[in-house]
C-alpha cells in the first residue's frame, strides 16, 4: 500500500525484478489488461491470502478457476442471491486478487428476492435430504476420479483393440482421461458451491442476530451454539488417537519413542507380528481419513497425510505421551451437546422480547440445519478429492517424464492446464505419426526458467489490496468467506500498533485465553517440523491437518482468517488462545521473539 493510505492501482504495481514475462504462466483472461482497465481500476481487489498466500502455480490455477465459476453462478444464475453476484479474480505478479461483485440497484435486488425465496427456500426446506444426496454425489465424483486410468502410449496397440473392433486408441484414451480429470475438478467445485453460499448465508444471519443482541458475544460462543456434534473434520485427528491407543494395546508404542520418521516406524513395525497388526490398523485409517491436506488443499504442493506420514507420526507420538500420562483424549461429546444447549438457553433468556426469542429459535434452527455442510464439506472437497486430484495429475506428469517432456513429475504444475492440453496433443500427434514431438525440446528449458521466476515471485510481498476500497464493506460473501470487513481494510491501510512498547498486531479474537512464549514463524508446510514445544505458532493460515502440532504449541497467530477460520476452531478445541486475521503476523514477527497473545482482545504484543 502507498504511504497516503491508499491501495495502488493494479496497473501501477511494478513487476518484481527478474520476473518479467510472468504473465505467460497464466491464461489470458486472468490478467489485468488495458482493454478492461477502466472497469478493473474502478473495483477494489484484495489478495486472497486466506486460500492463496503463495504465488499460483500455473496448473494450480484450476482450483481458483473452478470456484471462480461455481461460486459466481450459484449466486447469479441458480439461487439468484439478491444483493450479490460472483467474485471476480485476477492474477498479479503470480498472486491471486479477488473482487466482490455486489449489486446496488434496489429495484433489481427487489426483483431477485422473490426468486431467491423460492429457490433457496426449496434448499433450506429439503436441506437434510439434499445434503444426503450431496454426500453420495461427492463420493461419486471422488470414485470417478479414483477409477480414471491414465494409459501410457504403447509401441504397438494391444491385439485386443483389433479383435474387439474398438475403433479407439491409447492416444484417445489419454486425451479423454485428461479431459475427464479437468471436468472432474470442475464438477467437484460445482458441488462445493451447491450448498456453501446458502449455508454461510443462514449461519451468518444467526451470527448477525447474536451480534446485534449481544455486541460482546464471542464468535466462538455463536459457533458453539450451532456446531455439530460429530464433525468429520475432526475425524482424521480422531484416527490418530485411535492409532495411538492401538499402539499401546498391541504393545508397540515404544516404537514411537525411538523414532517418528515414517519409513523407520514402518520398518520397525514390520519386524514384529504385533507391529504388523498395527500397520493393518494404519491402513484401515488411511482411506479416506489420511486424504487430509497439510495445507489448504488448493496447491499441489500441499501434500496430504497419505502422501507423507510425518505429521500423523508426530501426532500419534503426542497422543501416546498423553495416554501414558492418563489423559482423556476423546472429545466429551455429551458435554459438548449440553454446553451447546446451555448457551442457547442462557442467551435466549437475556433477550428483551418474546419475539426475539422466537427469532433466535428460528434462526438457530436453520443455522444448525446448514452447519454440518459448512463444517464438513472441506473434507470431501479440499482434502479427500484434491489429494486424489493432485496425484492423478502427477500420473500425467510421470507420463510426460517418460516421454522426455519434463525432468520431474511435478514439472507439470509449471504449465497451466491449457498448456498441458497442448502438450498432450504434441505427444499423441508425434506418437501417432511416429515423429519427434517438440515438447522434449520446448518444455524442459521453459520449466527451468519458470522455476527461477517462481522463486522470485515468492519473495515479493503482494499489497493486501488494489484499487479503490469501498467505504463500507457490505457484500456478504466477502465478509462471510474471507472475513474482509471495513475494519480489516482500515487495518491494512493503517496498521494498528498494540503491545507495551508499541510493537504488536491486532486481529480477530479467535479463541480465548492469554499466553506468552517464543514465536515460531511458519510460512510453508515443510517448516512445521521445526516447531518446538511451548512455542507460539505464527503463520499465514492453518488447516485442520496441522492438528498434531497444536498439542505442542501455546497459542496461534494467523495473517488471515475470521470467525470461521480453521485456526480459531482448532485452537478452541485445544483450549489455546488464537488471534486470527492479523494481516501482517508473519511479516512483523520474527522467530524467537517473545509474544503475548491475547485471544480475548484479539491482540498480539511483541515483548522484545
Amino acid at each position: 500500500m502507498t504511504s497516503n493510505g491508499q491501495f495502488p492501482s493494479p496497473f501501477e504495481v511494478p513487476t518484481p525484478e527478474g520476473c518479467e514475462g510472468w504473465e505467460a504462466l497464466y491464461p489470458y483472461y486472468y490478467l489485468f489488461s488495458p482493454e478492461r482497465r477502466e472497469f478493473e481500476e474502478g473495483k477494489f481487489w484484495f489478495q486472497d491470502g486466506m486460500h492463496h498466500p503463495e504465488p499460483l502455480y500455473p496448473f494450480d490455477t484450476i482450483t481458483c478457476e473452478s470456484w471462480w465459476v461455481a461460486l459466481g453462478e450459484y449466486n447469479s444464475r441458480v439461487f439468484i442471491m439478491p444483493p450479490a453476484l460472483g467474485i471476480d479474480q485476477r492474477v498479479l505478479n503470480g498472486y491471486l486478487y479477488i473482487s466482490a461483485n455486489a449489486l446496488t440497484d434496489n429495484e433489481l435486488i427487489g426483483q431477485r428476492v422473490a426468486h431467491f425465496m423460492e429457490r433457496a427456500g426449496y434448499y433450506f426446506q429439503n436441506w437434510d435430504s439434499l445434503y444426503e444426496r450431496w454426500k453420495q454425489k461427492a463420493e461419486g465424483v471422488i470414485a470417478d476420479l479414483k477409477a480414471l486410468q491414465v494409459p501410457d502410449l504403447p509401441e504397438m496397440e494391444d491385439l485386443a483393440t483389433v479383435h474387439a473392433g474398438r475403433g479407439l486408441t491409447s492416444a484417445y484414451d489419454l486425451l479423454e482421461a485428461y479431459n475427464r480429470v479437468i471436468e472432474n475438478m470442475h464438477k467437484m467445485w460445482h458441488l462445493h458451491f451447491e450448498f456453501l453460499n446458502l449455508g454461510y448465508a443462514a449461519y451468518l444471519t444467526f451470527y448477525g442476530f447474536c451480534k446485534q443482541a449481544f455486541p460482546d458475544i464471542p464468535d466462538q460462543s455463536i459457533a458453539k451454539m450451532v456446531s455439530g456434534i460429530d464433525v468429520i473434520l475432526f475425524r482424521p485427528d480422531d484416527e490418530l488417537k485411535r492409532l495411538a491407543r492401538e499402539a499401546m494395546r498391541l504393545g508397540v508404542d515404544t516404537v514411537f519413542d525411538e523414532t517418528v520418521e515414517p519409513d523407520a516406524v514402518i520398518a520397525r513395525m514390520q519386524a514384529t507380528p504385533a507391529g504388523q497388526a498395527w500397520l493393518a490398523e494404519l491402513e484401515a485409517s488411511k482411506d479416506p481419513w489420511f486424504n487430509f491436506s497439510t495445507g489448504t488443499g488448493f496447491y499441489h504442493l500441499h501434500r496430504s497425510w497419505i502422501d507423507d506420514l510425518s505429521v500423523p507420526c508426530v501426532g500419534i507420538r503426542t497422543y501416546i505421551d498423553k495416554l501414558r500420562q492418563g489423559a482423556e483424549l476423546d472429545r466429551p461429546l455429551e458435554a459438548v451437546r449440553r454446553e451447546r444447549d446451555r448457551l442457547a438457553a442462557q442467551y435466549a433468556a437475556l433477550l428483551p422480547t418474546d419475539e426475539d426469542r422466537q427469532a433466535l429459535e428460528q434462526q438457530l434452527g436453520l443455522a444448525r440445519t446448514v452447519f454440518p455442510y459448512v463444517e464438513n464439506h472441506n473434507f470431501y472437497v479440499e482434502h479427500w478429492h484434491h489429494t486424489l486430484f493432485w496425484n492423478k495429475v502427477r500420473e500425467f506428469g510421470r507420463l510426460f517424464v517418460r516421454h522426455g517432456f519434463f525432468a520431474e513429475t511435478d514439472d507439470i504444475f509449471y504449465l497451466h492446464r491449457f498448456e498441458v492440453s497442448a502438450a498432450l496433443y504434441d505427444l499423441i500427434a508425434s506418437w501417432g505419426v511416429g515423429t519427434p514431438a517438440r515438447g522434449p525440446r520446448y518444455w524442459p528449458e521453459r520449466v527451468a526458467q519458470r522455476k527461477v521466476l517462481f522463486e522470485r515471485l515468492k519473495q515479493w510481498s503482494p499489497p493486501p489490496g488494489l484499487g479503490e476500497p469501498p467505504e463500507v464493506v457490505t457484500e456478504p460473501f466477502t465478509i462471510m468467506l474471507w472475513g474482509i470487513t471495513t475494519d480489516s481494510i482500515q487495518n491494512w491501510l493503517h496498521p494498528k500498533q498494540t503491545g507495551e512498547n508499541g510493537a504488536g498486531l491486532s486481529g480477530f479474537p479467535g479463541s480465548p485465553g492469554v499466553a506468552e512464549g517464543p514465536a515460531r514463524v511458519i510460512t510453508s508446510v515443510e517448516q512445521l517440523a521445526d516447531i518446538q514445544d511451548g512455542e507460539i505458532l505464527v503463520c499465514p493460515i492453518t488447516t485442520p491437518s496441522w492438528a498434531p502440532v497444536f498439542p505442542r504449541i501455546r497459542a496461534t497467530v494467523t495473517d488471515i482468517g475470521g470467525m470461521m477460520s480453521h485456526a480459531a476452531i482448532v485452537c478452541r478445541e485445544y483450549g489455546l488462545p488464537a488471534v486470527v486475521g492479523t494481516g501482517f503476523g508473519t511479516k512483523t514477527v520474527k522467530t524467537g521473539q517473545r509474544l503475548r497473545v491475547d485471544g480475548n482482545a484479539g491482540t498480539v504484543a511483541i515483548l522484545n
Partner: protein
C-alpha cells in the same frame, strides 16, 4: 432485634425495612440474605434520627433557619446549611440512642476481633436509591472511623447531610417537608481494600447483558466512584465465565488508610504499580460470580461497588460493598433486536440485504 428500635443488623435488613434503614442498608441486608459476601455491620434506623430531632426539641430552631429561605438564593442557602450542620454535630444525641449505637459498635468490633474496629459510617437515605428517584446530594460517607465516640459524631454528621444546600433546595422545590424526610445510617466494617471499584452486570457501553463490566483501581473504591482515576477495565463474558477484555490504565492516585490517623488518605500510587492490572484473573472471575448472583437475586441489571480485602485470603477477600439497580439501560423500554419475520428464510433475506454485521476487532 425487634425490641431494639434504633439498631438493625444488616442480616435483618431487607427491602421491607427500607423506610427504617434506607436503600443502601436494605440492599446490604438483601445481599447477605442472598448469600453475597458483604462486610458485616448494622443500620442506625430512621427512628434514631427522628428521636434525635425530637429529643433536641429544636424543630423550632430548624424552622428559624429554614423559614423564609429562598431556594434560589444560593448564599443564603449555604449559610443556613452551614449553621444547621454545625449545630447538629454539636447537640447531644439522646442517651438511649447513644447507648444503642455504642453497644452495637462494640459487638461488631468484638465479633471481628479488632478493638476500635475501623468502620465506614454512611448515610442511607430512604429515597435516593429507589430506581425512579436517583438524585444526588444526600450522600455522606466517612471511612476508617475508629471507636464508639467517633462513630457517634460521624452519625450526627450523616444526619446533618440532609441539610446540604442542595438537599434543602431540592425539598423546598419538590414541596417535601424538611422534618418528614428521614435518614438512616449504616455502620460497616471497613474493608482493608487493596483494590476496589464498581461493576455493572451489563456492558454500560452498549447494554449487552451477556457481559459484566468491572472498573477497578488501587485502594478504596472512592477514587473510581468519584472519577479521580482512570480505572482498569475488565469485560467478562458471564455466559462462558471468561474474561473478554482487560485494559490497564495509569492509576495515579489511591485512597488508603492512614496508619496513624483515623482516616484514609489520598496518595500517589508508586510508579511500579500504576500500569499494572490491579485485579488477578481469578479475582475478576470471582467478582463476576458475585455479580451474577446479585443480578439473579434482584432479577435486573445492577450497579455494584466491591473491594478486595488485603487481610483476607482468596476468595473470602472478594466482597461487594453496595448495590443499586442499573439505571441507564434499564430505564429504556425493551427494544426488539430484529423486526419479526414470518420464518427463518425471511431473516436470511433481510440479513443479506442489510449487509452482514461484523465485530470490530
Amino acid at each position: 432485634m425487634s425490641d431494639e428500635p434504633y439498631i438493625l443488623w444488616f442480616e435483618h435488613c431487607d427491602h421491607a425495612q427500607i423506610a427504617r434503614v434506607g436503600g443502601k442498608n436494605a440492599g446490604l441486608g438483601a445481599m447477605l440474605r442472598a448469600g453475597v459476601r458483604v462486610p458485616p455491620g448494622f443500620a442506625i434506623t430512621t427512628d434514631a434520627y427522628a428521636d434525635f430531632l425530637c429529643h433536641s426539641a429544636s424543630r423550632e430552631q430548624l424552622q428559624h433557619w429554614l423559614d423564609h429561605l429562598d431556594p434560589d438564593d444560593l448564599p443564603a442557602l449555604d449559610q443556613a446549611s452551614r449553621a444547621i450542620r454545625q449545630w447538629m454535630s454539636q447537640i447531644p444525641i439522646p442517651p438511649p440512642v447513644e447507648r444503642a449505637i455504642r453497644m452495637a459498635y462494640e459487638r461488631l468490633a468484638g465479633e471481628c476481633g479488632v478493638p476500635d474496629l475501623p468502620v465506614a459510617v454512611r448515610s442511607s437515605a430512604t429515597a435516593e436509591d429507589l430506581p425512579d428517584a436517583s438524585f444526588a446530594g444526600q450522600q455522606d460517607t466517612t471511612l476508617w472511623v475508629r471507636g464508639a465516640s467517633s462513630v457517634m459524631l460521624r452519625t450526627a454528621i450523616c444526619w446533618s447531610s440532609l441539610f446540604t444546600p442542595r438537599a434543602i433546595a431540592y425539598r423546598m422545590k419538590m414541596g417535601y417537608g424538611h422534618g418528614r424526610v428521614l435518614i438512616s445510617v449504616g455502620v460497616q466494617k471497613m474493608v482493608n481494600a487493596r483494590t476496589a471499584g464498581v461493576m455493572f452486570t451489563l456492558n454500560p457501553a452498549n447494554g449487552d447483558r451477556s457481559t459484566i463490566a468491572i472498573e477497578a483501581s488501587w485502594g478504596l473504591g472512592e477514587t473510581v466512584v468519584a472519577g479521580m482515576v482512570t480505572p482498569d477495565n475488565f469485560l467478562v463474558d458471564r455466559i462462558c465465565h471468561a474474561i473478554l477484555r482487560r485494559t490497564a490504565s495509569p492509576k495515579l492516585l489511591e485512597y488508603v488508610p492512614d496508619p496513624v490517623g483515623q482516616r484514609a488518605e489520598m496518595r500517589e500510587v508508586p510508579a511500579e504499580r500504576q500500569q499494572c492490572l490491579c485485579l488477578s484473573d481469578a479475582e475478576v472471575l470471582e467478582l463476576a460470580v458475585l455479580g451474577n448472583c446479585i443480578e439473579g437475586h434482584y432479577r435486573r441489571p445492577m450497579d455494584i461497588e466491591w473491594a478486595i480485602d488485603a487481610d483476607l485470603p482468596f476468595p473470602a477477600n472478594v466482597m461487594t460493598l453496595q448495590t443499586r439497580p442499573e439505571t441507564v439501560w434499564s430505564r429504556q423500554p425493551p427494544r426488539r433486536v430484529v423486526t419479526p419475520q414470518p420464518g427463518a428464510l425471511d431473516y436470511v433475506v433481510a440479513n443479506l440485504l442489510a449487509g452482514v454485521r461484523t465485530r470490530k476487532a
